[in-house]
């Protein structure tokens, strides 16, 4: 499994790696796409812990560490320990990577707002699976609903290609000095991690520039930068006996950093969302693999002469409020298929658009159930019928 020695890699500008380098198609799984991304990401340290369906990705990161692509790697004792160690390493000034999903996300949960508040540019992959009780290892995006307000930035991939590209771009966006926030790159478990697709990959002899901890908006903890009398992060509430305004302002700054990310996301991801046929009466808004299923349903709808638009939401935090508000102006019905029981995407969209009575939070499947395109097509036809008979 560790065949092949490390290839001598040249540091290139991020724009070159993302947009210009010649790419070759490889027929790989999502887990393998993670390996390929991290191989080119100039990551210093990765820490792992087993949980299905994320384990394979981190096995592969371990193998490339053994080959020499990472400087250090180990398996931690549990997700809280892993996410804490990742925080310590980031404060020490290195680029880190880790992954988890489902119950693992919840086990480590206190660390996510902590990372954001501590302005740590950590990239963490989340391979979504169901939350207990009862247990399921199968795909379910309910955890995204819990993660939305942690202060972390949230990307949701549709394909293994997205996963490859978004992981790499996440490092660069996270490390921008005016952002400097952790980014969760979410992929639906099994659908992405364990299925194969063609992924266009640039050569393996190039990698991203290294992380520069001295561009951080907070001092790195290495006794090489001032001020020395510095704790990350202290009880600011205790300053001058009470300083709740400082705590509130700190929270505001974390959210502001998320807003600042929009510019960088537009530059590197080409926008927080993508649209097709957005002027149609019937619009589907989806994220993750629900987008893929929607595409298939739209092809079938088109064959029957039904015009349906598609909005693929790539970034959930910061949320593309203005974009969605504008795009949905003309739509008569907005169908939002999701792989979770909460309907967090329907809730997000409903809270930013005018006249949210147009929102249809269906179909929704969860616990590992698949979402056949027929289900979405049925919903399209039902809504079309309702519109015609209003």
């Amino acid at each position: 499994m560790t065949e092949g020695k490390v290839v001598e890699q040249k540091i290139v500008e991020p724009e070159y790696l993302f947009f210009e380098a010649k790419r070759e198609p490889r027929f790989i799984t999502g887990s393998e796409a993670v390996r390929e991304a991290i191989k080119r990401a100039n990551v210093d340290l990765a820490i792992s812990y087993p949980i299905t369906p994320q384990s394979e990705s981190m096995h592969l990161v371990g193998y490339i560490y053994a080959q020499g692509y990472l400087k250090d790697y180990y398996r931690g004792e549990d997700e809280l320990g892993v996410m804490s160690a990742v925080a310590g390493a980031s404060m020490g000034g290195v680029r880190v990577f880790t992954a988890t999903g489902g119950p693992g996300t919840l086990r480590a949960f206190e660390m996510f707002p902590t990372w954001a508040g501590a302005r740590l540019p950590i990239v963490c992959a989340f391979f979504c699976r169901g939350i207990n009780s009862p247990l399921t290892i199968q795909p379910d995006t309910i955890e995204i609903g819990f993660m939305l307000d942690t202060g972390m930035l949230i990307f949701h991939v549709e394909t293994a290609q997205d996963l490859f590209d978004m992981l790499l771009k996440a490092f660069i966006i996270a490390e921008e000095p005016d952002v400097h926030l952790p980014i969760g790159v979410f992929a639906d478990g099994f659908f992405i991690t364990h299925t194969r697709e063609l992924v266009e990959i640039p050569p393996e002899d190039i990698k991203l520039p290294p992380y520069d901890p001295y561009k951080s908006p907070m001092p790195v903890m290495d006794m090489e930068t001032p001020p020395v009398r510095q704790m990350r992060d202290p009880f600011v509430m205790k300053s001058n006996f009470i300083s709740y305004a400082a705590h509130a302002s700190w929270q505001q700054e974390v959210r502001a950093a998320g807003e600042r990310a929009r510019k960088h996301i537009n530059k590197y991801l080409g926008g927080l969302l993508e649209t097709e046929n957005e002027d149609a009466d019937i619009l589907i808004i989806a994220s993750g693999t629900a987008v893929s299923q929607s595409r298939e349903a739209i092809i079938r709808a088109n064959r029957e002469g039904i015009s349906v638009g598609l909005v693929k939401v790539k970034v959930l935090r910061p949320f593309p409020c203005q974009e969605i508000k504008t795009i949905t102006r003309k739509a008569k019905v907005i169908i939002i298929p999701e792989f979770n029981i909460i309907g967090w995407l329907a809730r997000e969209v409903s809270s930013v658009i005018e006249d949210n009575s147009r929102v249809v939070g269906a179909p929704r499947v969860f616990g590992g159930m698949t979402m056949p395109p027929e289900l979405i097509l049925d919903e399209i036809k039902k809504q079309r019928f309702l519109l015609a008979n209003k």
Binding site: G76, E77, S84, A85, G88, S90, M91, M221, M231
Partner: protein
Amino acid sequence: MSVDIIKISPGFEEIMPEDYRDLVNNGSYGKGFSVSELGTFKELIEEHPLCAGCGLALSLRFILASLPDPEDTVIVGTTGCNSLAEAQVAIHNIHSIFGNQNAVATGLKRALEIRFPGRTKDVVVMAGDGGVGDIGLGTTMHSWLRGEKFTTIMFDNEAYANTGGQESGMSCEGTVLNMAPTGKKFPKIPLPEIARDAGCVYTAVVTPSNPKRLGKMVRQAILIARELGPSYIQIYCPCPTNYKFKPSESIKRAKEKEKDGSYPVREYFSPKAKEFVERLEKRVNETG
């Protein structure tokens, strides 16, 4: 550290507050001070909010005076009284969430190894009994089991002091504390012995009643951790506020507990650590 991060930019010396000028002129960076020199130099800790008679605050001052290389040490504390004092220390330090200090220290140590290979960068955990022994027991033990090369120092005030004096795993059996209204029902956690068996190559249990002894153990623990493996020091820190005795009696209490066997001072060395310390002492004796 490049000692220049503790040098004031030319032209700004006059406007820097006095305590910083003092730190630059009389601080302990790179000077090799020990507990014996306390009182002759500007200490690393500034004014802090801990109580009068606090054993933790006293121990912290002794520890800071004993660091072999304060200019290349990073501290990791956790939520509790320790982090209220550590925020005022002139050494980089991290406070993350309650109990994760040994995991944070693991990541930090490995990061500093990557960025400064071959250079001294000591990581020292300084945290309370709640953080190290209860909520953080998992991260503590696993950092020991993995052999992570840093020192863990526990300020053992035998309670959750900062939250109002609740029973902790390190409280003695029978002690009446908050959340233990009829007395603690199980014995004090034998953490030093667990540390020894979990991979700590040097373990020490001590009180601040003898500053030089504490200083020597701290220095030793850090030098050993640099080369050989994890070290653990457990310091009995009397807490007048929660155990309800006069602040002036802290040291007396510490001495009593040493004497009556309820907090016996002891050390455990792995064979390699023993060798290392003997070589160290030999070198010290030779150079006088």
